[in-house]
Point group: C2
Chain length 375, copies 2
């Protein structure tokens, strides 16, 4: 297996944008290629969850290659629901690690705000087990079930969840690409309307447009892909043996750490999938940073804040940076690359080893990626 490095990273502004899906992907891709010193890439890996229904575009991989004027570059699309960006990074990594390609471009994006919210919600609901969906379950409703189970098991109050939103909005305020760049208070979060009790508006990520990109290469660069894991679990919540942790993340993390020869103690910065506030807390336990039930306590003590010993979601996370579904898994990797290279501006932390964790669906198809700065 060849060593694989991230040679370049790029990202658009996230938010409610005028640009098209292709325009967003192209902007992110151009940024990553420029950052990489414009190597001779041999293939393009494209992630987008549902460009057919969200952006009325098909054959998105070929269309993207044509759009950027590189029609003879082979292109593939990868999709795993809301973790598609991480999945494309993984698939591109296998192509480079195998020695088949030397340099590849990965782009990941979604255009979500041109469809009415109920349509978007219906599309997202396809990630739910069909039987549970038939009873009207939505993503926020199931996330609320998970939140209740966790809060009950570990004696959490609504304000404990709100701390995730407050921290991530504070970080987003330092990220010029974030969807939301305004700090919020616990009071504001606790006064926002219910989306699905106990989850309030500020417990949920927004619907965003945006794209991210990375160039992977066999040539030595400043950031190495040290470990990647891909894990899965039952689609149906009723079939799971645990609601207060996600086995798909746990399995992905085990593989990623084993491959990297690392343990959770080695990680100095992380981007975790906080589509709903309880998910950040649960994910911080699933990847082994904290014992089950201790994630909220670590958060409350400020350990995961920018100035803490293990900053989580310095970008603002899905909560404040935004969540263009197909893009998020790659946007997390891009943030870690920037952090490891010391290019994260006003949200820079001190780290040589970082981790990105992405959730597909309701934690049924997850990825964990460990990245290291190269001495």
């Amino acid at each position: 297996m060849s060593d694989v490095y991230v040679a370049g990273a790029g990202m658009t502004r996230f938010g409610r944008l005028d640009a098209t899906l292709l325009g967003l992907l192209a902007e992110a891709g151009a940024g990553a290629l420029r950052d990489a010193g414009s190597p001779e890439i041999q293939a393009i890996y494209v992630a987008s969850m549902d460009p057919e229904e969200l952006a009325d575009e098909g054959s998105i991989a070929s269309l993207f290659a044509a759009y950027i004027g590189r029609p003879r570059l082979p292109s593939l699309r990868i999709e795993t629901g809301t973790s598609s960006g991480a999945a494309a990074f993984f698939a591109a990594w296998t192509a480079v690690a195998s020695g088949y390609h030397d340099h590849v471009l990965v782009v990941a994006g979604e255009k979500m705000t041109s469809r009415p919210t109920p349509e978007v919600a219906a599309i997202l609901s396809r990630m739910i087990d069909p039987y549970e969906r038939s009873y009207g379950a939505t993503m926020p409703a199931l996330a609320a079930l998970v939140a209740r189970a966790y809060m009950e098991a570990h004696d959490l109050a609504p304000k404990d969840l709100a701390q995730v939103a407050v921290k991530n909005h504070a970080n987003g305020a330092r990220n010029p690409l974030a969807h939301f760049q305004r700090p919020i208070t616990v009071e504001e979060a606790l006064e926002s309307r219910f989306v699905a009790e106990p989850l309030r508006l500020y417990d949920c990520c927004p619907i965003s447009d945006g794209a991210a990109a990375a160039v992977l290469t066999r040539e030595r660069h400043r950031v190495r892909v040290a470990g990647i894991g891909h894990g899965a679990d039952h689609l149906a919540l009723r079939h799971r043996d645990c609601l207060t942790g996600f086995r798909a993340t746990q399995a992905a993390a085990r593989r990623a750490y084993a491959m990297a020869g690392r343990s959770p103690r080695d990680i100095q910065v992380a981007e975790l999938h906080d589509a709903f506030t309880p998910f950040e807390i649960i994910s911080s336990e699933d990847v082994g940073f904290f014992e089950p039930g201790q994630g909220a306590r670590a958060l409350a003590r400020g350990r995961t804040a920018l100035g803490g010993d293990l900053p989580i979601n310095p970008s603002g996370g899905l909560k404040a940076r935004g969540h263009p579904v197909g893009a998020s898994g790659l946007a997390q990797v891009v943030e870690i690359v920037w952090q490891l290279r010391g290019e994260a501006g006003g949200r820079q932390v001190d780290a040589r080893v970082g981790l990105a964790q992405s959730i597909g669906g309701l934690a049924s198809n997850n990825f964990v990626t460990v990245l290291e700065a190269v001495a």
Copy 2:
């Protein structure tokens, strides 16, 4: 790069079927796993072009893993339009060749007949360059342009195209899984109605349901993946420098042969992408079997028939076996595996080295795979 072998292959009947997309994928997958001796697979690669719009299913990879009762197996979906099945085989191959996985299952399928034909045609048209599409171009219309250019350049008559359909229907009649299992005559073909002049109904593949599957492994098995190539070209026909050959196939073939250490002379059986009859002739030249303009002559002489020196589409091809778009690229590989193992029943040919070639869109995203029997 590790050697990768095909440990098992499976396929459903193709045609207008009652089964759901998940049912088809599961049937093909179970066949491939059984054939492989049920190894401990570590991941699932799923190809489907547009399950969202054609089958009203999202997150198809996770859904498939859950459907077959293997929810904790990581799964990914791959899409490149009509070559998605070949693309998933390629992506799974990189995962095994890199050493990341030891055994993976690839499944590819499409459910097309539950939507009205005009809706299916509109979905397929998304593979066309948007500007050309804006003038009303459809896939058959653009294939007809290519056919005209080729017929003009090489002095072909309509009956020369019809020979492809006659040969492939004759082969399909020997394939119990084929959509069409009835031989046709040149006269029948030439009397069928025009779809897009000069292409008649019998020059075009049907709209089919179906699925195929394969198990890839690092363990030595009877069929080895010797070479894989992925090639691309302009989406827009008006931007191409050649209409009588497909550069995407030519590029993919060069890479596949180079990797395999093989030349076109070594190939003893091939499955080529005959979604339209002229495409088989053009593809047989693009992969280097015949000089430009000589493909139809070789066909007319019977060289590519079952009893010829280089049988093409012994399965019946897309024309007669059928074309469930996401499945076809993998169905071709499955047919070659069966041929190399001597398991192709009444359509068996004598071959140790075979080739599969799949076209994505209007030949903008193509794959060539070379397979070898292991001594």
